[in-house]
């Protein structure tokens, strides 16, 4: 499915299902764990981070696709992919942060503070790499980037909802904070396993 040339609408639907549920970028593909444990303690920070990631990833996926196909391949320096991608992402996020700060201070307060955090988020760079590894065309790149970000957000929000309740539960001292967060993430991931086989 990943390497075909002609995409029908149902293929796109399957791609979204695959990205969000079956191969959830966070729980199954392990990308984006560091902010996951830090930001998922409260619901409002989780929602802010989700919107930030959706916006940044849906834009940088296609941009890095352009950089790869029209710049790096033309000059046969594909091995510099890592450097070119991370530079592009860092510059893009910096640009967006400046723009949001000027255009909408309210939005900046809500989501702007997560933007520097998103630059070093493995799920952004990882999804850009997957776009290349799976040999997607331009439109599938956009759809896959959006689906990955949606999956990240879904896992994050579920986690935040559960973790807010931990504040009042009787957890043994040595398991508090990160440890119980990881175990919970594993159990949520286990439930996502139910979707395996739904799409490739």
């Amino acid at each position: 499915m990943m390497e075909q040339q002609v995409w029908t609408f149902s293929d796109y639907i399957m791609l979204v299902v695959s990205g969000v549920l079956v191969n959830n970028i966070l729980l199954i593909r392990f990308l984006g764990n560091c902010p996951f444990l830090g930001v998922s303690k409260k619901m409002d920070t989780a929602v802010g981070m989700t919107f930030g990631v959706i916006f940044v990833l849906t834009c940088t996926g296609p941009i890095t696709w352009f950089v790869e196909h029209y710049l790096l391949e033309k000059f046969d320096i594909v091995y510099l992919e890592t450097l070119a991608f991370i530079l592009t992402i860092a510059v893009f996020v910096q640009l967006v942060e400046m723009a949001i700060k000027k255009i909408s201070p309210g939005l900046y307060r809500g989501l702007g503070i997560y933007l520097p955090l998103i630059t070093t988020n493995c799920c952004i760079l990882g999804t850009c790499f997957y776009n290349i590894r799976f040999k997607f065309g331009f439109i599938p790149t956009i759809v896959f980037s959006f689906a990955s970000a949606l999956g990240f957000g879904l896992a994050l929000i579920i986690m935040a909802g559960i973790r807010e309740r931990f504040h009042y539960a009787r957890i043994p001292k040595c398991f508090q904070d990160t440890s119980i967060g990881l175990i919970t993430a594993g159990l949520i991931g286990l439930s996502f396993f139910a979707f395996a086989g739904l799409a490739k």
């Binding site: 950089v67 710049l71 790096l72 000059f75 046969d76 320096i77 510099l80 450097l83 070119a84 530079l87 592009t88 510059v91 910096q94 640009l95 400046m98 723009a99 700060k101 000027k102 255009i103 504040h167 009042y168 539960a169 009787r170």
Partner: protein
Amino acid sequence: MEVLKATIYPVLVMGGLAVIYALGLGIAARIFYVYVDPRIAEVEEFLGGANCGGCGYAGCSDCAAAIVEGKAPVNACVAVGADKWEAIAKILGVSVEAGEKQVAMIMCRGSKDKAKRKFQYMGIEDCRAALLAGGGDKECQYGCLGLGTCVKNCPFGALSMGEDGLPKVDKDKCTGCGTCTRVCPRGIPKLVPVSLKIAVICSSHDTPPVVKKICEVGCQGCGICKKVCPEKAITIENSLAVVDPSKCTLCGKCFEKCPTGAIQQILPA
């Protein structure tokens, strides 16, 4: 030739990319330049930094911006002392009067051995949740449930749960932000001036026969303290004694005569 291409191309392409990005960011920085009053950052240095919300704003940055804009008074931050207020006032070029520092006081002495319980509660360790379970496990409908909601929510770590099931306030760490007062479902922590010398440490409005049955140390509202006070500083409101500190001379007659010891002298820690 191949070697030349292999070395020159990467340098040119990455260098060119870097130059384009740098120019782009430089131009964007000009276009999107936002004037931020530098005084806001300076004022924020002197605020509590805990984002406790005691000032009524959504965090220390918000409060600093409001102070500089003139929307909030210089002494808006309740979590810092008068010396910080003076520093903030100096930045803005205004003056400020100092008020007295307030601290929290837990208005309940009904510990596990002194106050009766209706049933054994085994649920979420939160007083708000316990209240939903049949009105809490204490017989007294006004008393402290001792599950530590205030302790968990104190932004400055000034509260700790004692062995007897009542929270203890560290007066040095307490800043009077009022978070504990807001989160307690029964409003038991109260903000009092730090120099307060006498208080009725009970929140119960139950009548004397009821209090006698359910709590050994609660204020019954019997009125003995009111009768013996030579300055007429004590009144009984809804079966709870209230002291007017401005009239009180600390003669000590009410402490002696109180049958349960609910009215107490507050000694410096």
